[in-house]
Amino acid sequence: MSEEIIMRVEHITKKFPVSEGRTLTAVDDVSFVVRKGETVGIVGESGCGKTTLLKALMCIEPPTAGRIIFRDQDITKLSGEAKRQNYRHLQMVFQDPTAAFNPKMKVKDIICEPLLNFDLIKKNEVKAKAAALLQAVELPEDFAERYPHNMSGGQRQRVAIARALALSPDIIVCDEATSALDVSVQDSIVRLLVRLQKEQGVTYIFVCHDLALVSLFSQRIAVMYLGNVMEKIDGDKLRAARHPYTRALLQAVFSTDQEKNKYIGILPGDIPSPLDMPTGCPFRNRCAYAEEVCAVEKPVLTETEPNHFVACHYPLTAEENGW
């Protein structure tokens, strides 16, 4: 594992103006670093700000405050040609590849389009390059002549990965890239991503709501709730999570091992509206351990052990964790 940091996300905040002069804070002071060749998993339920954060990372929607340092520049300030050039190093794989492709383009044109856009290959090289990229994602070469609708969901997602790989980017951002797939297909896509990472040293930022999946192949995990990072932890240490929300997420994962299912716990209530944020800790009104101070003071991310950050006034201990 290299220690070279290739992206620094620093204090990203995104506020949206809403009616009656109020503001909605979708992402609140999120910071993390991305190391080369690693996978950073971002986990959270709907409404936690994952998508807004991704939009900031991909320079689609600039944040209100904070900066993202990537290749020695703050990419949130980029515009025009500089912004376009930035995408040579930063590519994305979407949840639904059907919607991400032009249905009238053949697979070879889809996966070579980024290369043609940046004048990296000539038109007559498309065929050879497409074949090489298809091979990298374990698809037969004759897929180059197909259209996206002539494939299964898993095959389409492989094409999407091939397109993201075409430019040999430093970072590939995956937005729920496996959520729409069946489990066995999901398994093979994750194996493909991991193999590409080992061979080519690709770095992933993997946004997902499936904590179990993320924990199996991310080196670092950030757990988000209502726009805030609640806990940052190493992927292989997830069971030592100390934040009550992370624990609730862990307890909500159903297993095929009925022994593990004895630990299932139900977190009451719904996620509050981000317009109507609780004072203090955003999680306090669903938290079984909330005390008075949680309503007054917002907990800050604190390093409790090396590489393990928790934003909680009363982080759980390993015994309380129940595992």
């Binding site: 069946d182 066995s184 179990a212 924990s215 994962v253 593990k260 716990g265 977190l267």
Partner: protein, 263 residues
């Protein structure tokens, strides 16, 4: 025996090969059967056939299809109307989509109750409110006045379950009842469904692609692939000793907390 299905096959269109063939299973009162499998394996087709709601020119054939003493293939259209929504009811993946977005939930709930009973409007409204309270929904009056899009996914699903269990059906059919939900909401709804079945002796057939949820909830498990049953039996037996290779691969592919890491 509440439900006996032997050698069920379903095909869409006259000369098309059958989508589902040779499906047999049995269900006792209060039992939960989970049908698992990947997209296109025919899971939903099976429960749609039980409801005689195949659509798309689909029709089913079966050696035997007995529900609570009634032979399903012989029922007339009006028999089906009496059965559906009362003794047999269905929960959909997103209960918001099964309802009309331009009418309030209360209006549709009352309409549903009055279609299947002789209750007056006021009594039907009170029953609707009571059902919502039973599903742990606070302020039922407020919800009855709302439209579907005003509720969160978990609340909508609770409304759908409340409607489905109003007449204490003998059998609930649930098509991916928790797939559209977040993990913590999913755990809540799974809890509610278990409460409904275990509390009142209602049997349930649940279609899901989430093997974890199936393992947690079901007494019996049926694994389907390409329209055929590849494994069927008690949940523990299948989990511990799957017969088909397909089930083995499927079980291996489920990500588990603390499982074998890819990296």
């Amino acid at each position: 025996m509440l439900l006996t299905v032997e050698d069920l096959s379903v095909s869409y269109g006259k000369d098309k090969p059958p989508t589902v063939t040779g499906v047999s299973f049995y269900l006792n009162e209060g039992e939960v059967l989970a049908i698992v499998g990947e997209s296109g394996s025919g899971k939903t087709t099976v429960i749609r056939a039980l409801l005689n709601a195949l659509g798309g020119g689909g029709h089913f054939q079966a050696e035997k299809m007995l529900f609570n003493g009634q032979n399903l293939p012989e029922l007339s259209a009006s028999d089906w109307r009496n059965l559906r929504g009362k003794e047999l009811s269905m929960i959909f993946q997103d209960s918001g989509n099964m309802m009309n977005p331009v009418h309030t939930i209360g209006k549709q709930f009352v309409e549903y109750i009055q279609t299947h009973s002789d209750l007056g409007k006021k009594a039907a409204y009170d029953l609707a409110a009571e059902m919502l309270t039973r599903m742990n929904l606070p302020n039922p009056e407020n919800i009855l006045r709302s439209y579907t899009f005003e509720l969160s996914g978990g609340m909508r699903q609770r409304v759908g379950i409340a409607m489905a269990i109003t007449f204490q059906p003998k059998l609930l059919l649930a098509d991916e009842p928790t797939s559209a939900l977040d993990v913590t909401t999913q755990a809540q709804i799974v809890g509610e469904l278990l409460f409904v079945t275990k509390g009142s002796g209602t049997a349930m057939i649940m279609v899901t692609h989430n093997l974890g949820v199936a393992s947690y909830m079901a007494d019996k498990l049926m694994v389907m692939k390409s329209g055929r049953v590849v494994d069927y039996g008690k949940t523990e037996e299948i989990l511990q000793n799957p017969q088909s290779d397909y089930t083995k691969t499927l079980l291996k592919a489920v990500p588990e907390i603390g499982g074998v890491r890819f990296v």
